[in-house]
Symmetry: D2
Subunit: 366 residues, 4 copies
């Protein structure tokens, strides 16, 4: 009986090769059609044609496969051909590692993020609250070797009656403080119409988690050449995050830095949950630099050091952290900003001081 | 020994009443301060003052409570006073049932949504694709008693290379078809700067799930007087959804209809998961009408009828559904739009025909 | 140029039919092998053979498909054949509607659950606490037409220091009360070794959410003939829930009732979130009755009525609810059990009194 | 007007101190009652008494607080007293850092896990499949410095028709292979009644993710003295995970090692999502060693190295990984086990070889 199985298997081996031959020929024809379609400016995907083919196949189906199985198998074959055409046209996603193997390095002012550059530290208050506050933080973090200053002037707040930021005045105050202390300045933009204002005052545009799929904003910021810090949405998959970056690159802005900031989970001990695999996946799937916002990821001061260690170990190109002269009286994020002494201890405990001045080994072997 | 317990308990009862007396007196003083602060235009929340009080209390702490417990107890007392002041000022949320017990009825064209009005049915294609397509659907759904037409002209798409809608041309085509068939028209707005265009062409502005916390858009739409359909975000809590509506009301637009459209869960059999409790909670906590989008909630045609039944049973003021002449060749949402025959069967199976002409009993006893 | 496309498409049409022919022949050979393997008691899945075939194919790959695409396409072909063999052998899942189209009716004592039978109401306290308490609830719910009594004697508690139930004594007390009032009795079993005890005292075995994938318990209970109430796990997909039921049926116990009890979501206003689509999917995919536990689904008394309406509207075969003489002093679930007066109001508001004595129309057209 | 505020605030300061005095006296009385109750063997929590006190308070409520606020404030006060009594009795959780500040070191065979010991590496196949397979893996991993061998003999499988493991035979084969190569052996136990069998053959009992809240199993394993590896549930909070460990310690088994293995999220690129904060929180809140299972956390071979780096950086006491002679033909987990060559590369890329022989610095400063 084993012999019978052997002989049936030999016949299957023959059929496999015949199938491969026909599939390959079919693929070559599909490529030829695709070239003609491109020349005529037509889309390659034609669902009506697909439906007609599937109907012809099920009409001719001799069994034993059910019609549903026949449809499903041929859908796979159609898709394989379609992918081939897309590859041919090099319609690769601009964010993709397969389109661009080398690490992208984004320059913000005279700070370089990504590649083998030392991991950056982006520090500053959650919100810009006053001239005194912004000056105090800028002076302090600059004196500790920080090169990128963060601070919100337009704040996205769940509750309309919460403090919404100082607006234009906040941008101006922070710009002046950054200039005094040689810091590059990153701040969140919430509306495309404020782009001229931001282009005047900031060195890097931040797109917040809640706006990750605000496609209007993505397109506008994509038409700017300012570097962009793109935060991941609170419940976004890595694919959705990368597609949001694709919007930016597709509009012409190549200076995109991704930023993981924790996702929603069922955990009640933390505000969000840092997703280190997302950092790894973003490094594997794209060529863009990736930062980790350790303040929002955990929402707890006692996690800042361990989350920083994990983020850097998995290959993040930098860390973002909120620093405030007196967190207890801050107008937002009271529980998670650190004061100056805690920030010094943080730098020491994470070994950041050493890291800020050292080139990195590559983490992913590209 | 039981007697000893009784006697200790009696002493505790006495202390309870003394505590109540002091707490009430404290609350009256806090109210008086709050009134003075309001008169001076000052914020009621003063974290520096709070910190000073806590320091004074822990300095005086005789035990046996730890300082942490003392702080925690007094934080509760401070918060209770603060809430009292807020209640005094009638700074109730505008969306709240406690501010406005009667059901809000929103009028869109000559369609009334909410209260005891019969549940509405909002039907139309995912995207407006051509003059022929929009005319065919409008004619069909109008002939079946539908009064509200949906159709996207600006489409939020995860992938930048997907079909993004016909834009202004799409709005115009749908407006004409709706006029021909006496339908009110609802369409998604993605950018505040397109508001004049939408005000000219649509009867109701839709804010999509991905824009639920696009606060710039919320504020702009809140300054319009057009009715708004506010979808719940993919992973938003009910509180965040209601706060997004609060942005609209706070800017002056009272014509807000909420729309549950399924949340992200781990389920792989469906695209999203309809959250009926969110409908119930929105009806309990707010006075706004609530619709259920059964197309996106399940993402499966075979769930449209059961989800509609559940949505109406829990008190939704209407249902939203996608209808397309030929879903297999649609430019988006191929798997979940229904064709004309299926739509007829849907109307019959849900008993919607009867419901569309009947007043409702109240579901929640307000 | 359009003519060229037409002619290339005609050649593709021919290739499609040739592919179909070869695929069908291949499937027939695979079936023949499958029969031989069954006769010899061999498994049909042979990963070594699969790997060899894939290697032969990639070795012969003439392009333009990449080796990865060739492997992926042939994996699909292998799987289709495998599924065919499985279908041939009628190794359909026992829970599946395709194996058993008619609704299963489960009889518990003289109560029938499922099919066209009126929806049942399962009521009783979270935990059995004393003879007085269990007698009071049994008397009351029986007087209101309830036929199934619930009450926990072995309680799964997150915290080891919480009340863990009266154990065997609790089962005995509830059995006596149920006998006095003509009620069938359902109680949660946590350990296979307690099966003899449960078989003596209860009419229906409940498997709790935390034990949904306790496969040892599932197998033991599957070897019993007592009806089983299988709760869905807190974060289980519908597929995992149905597979847990498959364990029960596979061991020989056909008397399985599924019970949706809410899933974990990000919502903070409720303890869990009722997933009505899961009820619909369970009815579509399986032939088993499905109940909804409205107490745990929401964890809020003010949601019991709306969730019941939604559950029944979507086709649930019954509702489970917790009733306690004095919820404020209950040893568990203080916030969500209802007292006797609230239970009466619940029956009236849901119209359950009428429903308990009426046959149902079919919700799903099987 | 500012002067008026100052004077009102001074009166509030006085009231604060009076309140503190009364609260402290009340706490001392509650402690005295607690001691009497302990002496009489009574529970400290008496919900009936609590309700009576709340009723007396709301009856006497002079305003301006609502009754609901009064109740809520006094509930806080009652709870603070209760916590005090519990602290007095040293009814601290056994797992808690506050009960036991020093790191627990668990000894398995002659391997020490936790504290300043070098991080361990637990390696072996998902399932024990044959004498040849288990010998091959044991020989290989032992030759690479691994000291702990993992391998499943009883496999929890979602689908009842999947391979369920070799059972007792599997345990025996692995025991022999471990003895030949000087390895300690850890394997998953699914049923309390198999404890004698496991105690004979394994060095460490694993409790799987699906059984994390199988309280019957936890209690049985807690009565053993064998070291336990307790995996976190797929959607469990850190608190629930720690409470599961508390069951083990409460029954008398102090040799507990926690194991994070990824949680369910919406991500589709990975099977689960490694939650590094859970590792940090487990180290902060408990004194138990914590491992990271990098195979299940990601479900992808290309994430094994980065997840290992992140896990060790955040302070994990070891890593668990699946190794198989030929993963493509494995009976389970084909996609995520690594072959011997990949395992060698993994050791090199993670620098594990160096780490396996080095003492660690403390990560958390206890």
């Amino acid at each position: 009986m084993d012999g019978k199985i052997q002989s049936l298997r030999a016949r299957i081996d023959g059929l496999n090769l015949q199938l491969l031959e026909l599939l390959s020929e079919r693929a070559r024809l599909a490529q030829a059609i695709g070239e003609l379609q491109s020349a005529m400016g037509l889309s390659h995907y034609d669902p009506v044609r697909e439906q007609e083919m599937l109907e012809a196949l099920t009409a001719a189906n001799p069994g034993p496969f059910t019609d549903a199985t026949v449809k499903s198998l041929f859908k796979q074959i159609f898709q394989a051909s379609m992918q081939l055409e897309e590859a041919e046209e090099k319609r690769h996603y601009l964010t993709s590692r397969s389109a661009h193997r080398a690490d992208t390095v984004v320059e913000v002012g005279n700070v370089a993020i990504g590649g083998r550059h030392a991991p950056v530290l982006v520090a500053g208050p959650c919100a810009i609250e006053s001239a005194e506050q912004v000056e105090a933080v800028a002076a302090r973090v600059a004196s500790r070797g920080v090169t990128l200053f963060r601070g919100g002037a337009f704040k996205p707040r769940t509750d309309p009656y919460s403090f919404q930021g100082l607006g234009e005045e906040g941008l101006r105050l922070a710009r002046e403080a950054c200039d005094r202390h040689g810091l590059a300045f990153v701040s969140e933009i919430m509306d495309a119409k404020e782009l001229p204002l931001f282009e005047e005052h900031v060195d890097m545009l931040q797109i917040g988690a809640r706006n990750m799929q605000n496609f209007t904003l993505l397109k506008a910021v994509g038409r700017s050449r300012k570097p962009v810090l793109l935060k991941r949405g609170l419940a976004a998959t890595v694919e959705e995050w990368v597609m949001a970056a694709e919007y930016l690159l597709n509009e012409g802005n190549p200076n995109v830095v991704l930023c993981e900031r924790g996702i929603r989970t069922f955990e009640r001990y933390t505000r969000n949950t840092l997703d280190v695999s997302a950092v790894a996946l973003a490094k594997l799937e794209t060529h863009l630099p990736v930062l980790v916002d350790v303040t929002h990821s955990g929402g707890r001061r006692d996690l800042l050091v361990p989350l920083t260690k994990a983020g850097l170990a998995i290959g993040a190109d930098g860390i973002m952290i909120e620093v405030h002269p007196n967190p207890a009286v801050a107008l937002s994020d009271q529980k998670q900003q650190v004061d100056f002494e805690t920030f010094d201890r943080y730098l020491e405990d994470t070994g950041y001081h050493t890291k800020l001045s050292e080139k990195r080994h590559e983490v992913y072997g590209f």
